[in-house]
Symmetry: C2
Subunit: 115 residues, 2 copies
């Protein structure tokens, strides 16, 4: 297991193909497969204007930090306006999505436990 | 366990008093104690110009994302220049520190597994 320190733009991105996603790309910044990260993974999401992540729930949590842009976080039945500097905690089994309501890319970190 | 979505500046900060730290403040954005986060914790560190975190190692990993400012990440015997957008993975048992070499606050997220 080796340390690393790189700019996120050097990490490849790919389209999120999950049903219910629109205009969402993901970069796996730190994870078990590539880095040997023992407990959890750091991903960076980029959502185009008018794009959104799937409305879904699952039995693991999200720890989210909004880097750039603006939008809505839907969680536990409530929509919250979010922008750079917002922290979002999505507990396991809570329905949620993120939607870009701005004119620029909505960019956020979303961390999940290893499976 | 409840969801939350708030700006990080609403989360209280406190001085890091660990020996070897200079000019470092911490905000526990998401953790087990306050939020019931089941697996890992998100902290935000603010390091003053010329400040630094302790040079140490421990048996858990760090997953780091640089939000603002510039500085040096020391890890595995190597110093890397870091700035906004850099990702740093510090595996367990690797000596490391972060130092602010800029004129503004160095602000970064650092996530750790629950103990």
């Amino acid at each position: 297991m080796e340390s690393k320190a790189i700019h996120y733009k050097r990490v490849p991105k790919s389209q999120v193909k999950e049903a219910g996603a629109k205009g969402v790309q993901i970069r796996w910044l730190i994870n078990k497969e590539n880095d040997g990260a023992p407990n959890f993974a750091m991903r960076l999401f980029e959502v185009e204007p008018d794009g959104y992540t799937p409305r879904h729930s699952h039995d693991w949590e999200h720890e989210v930090f909004i880097l750039e842009g603006e939008g809505i976080a839907f969680c536990s039945g409530t929509e919250t306006q979010i922008k750079s500097g917002f922290v979002v905690f999505v507990p396991p089994n809570i329905e949620h999505y993120f939607r870009n309501t701005g004119k620029r890319i909505l960019r956020f970190l979303c961390l999940i436990p290893n499976k």
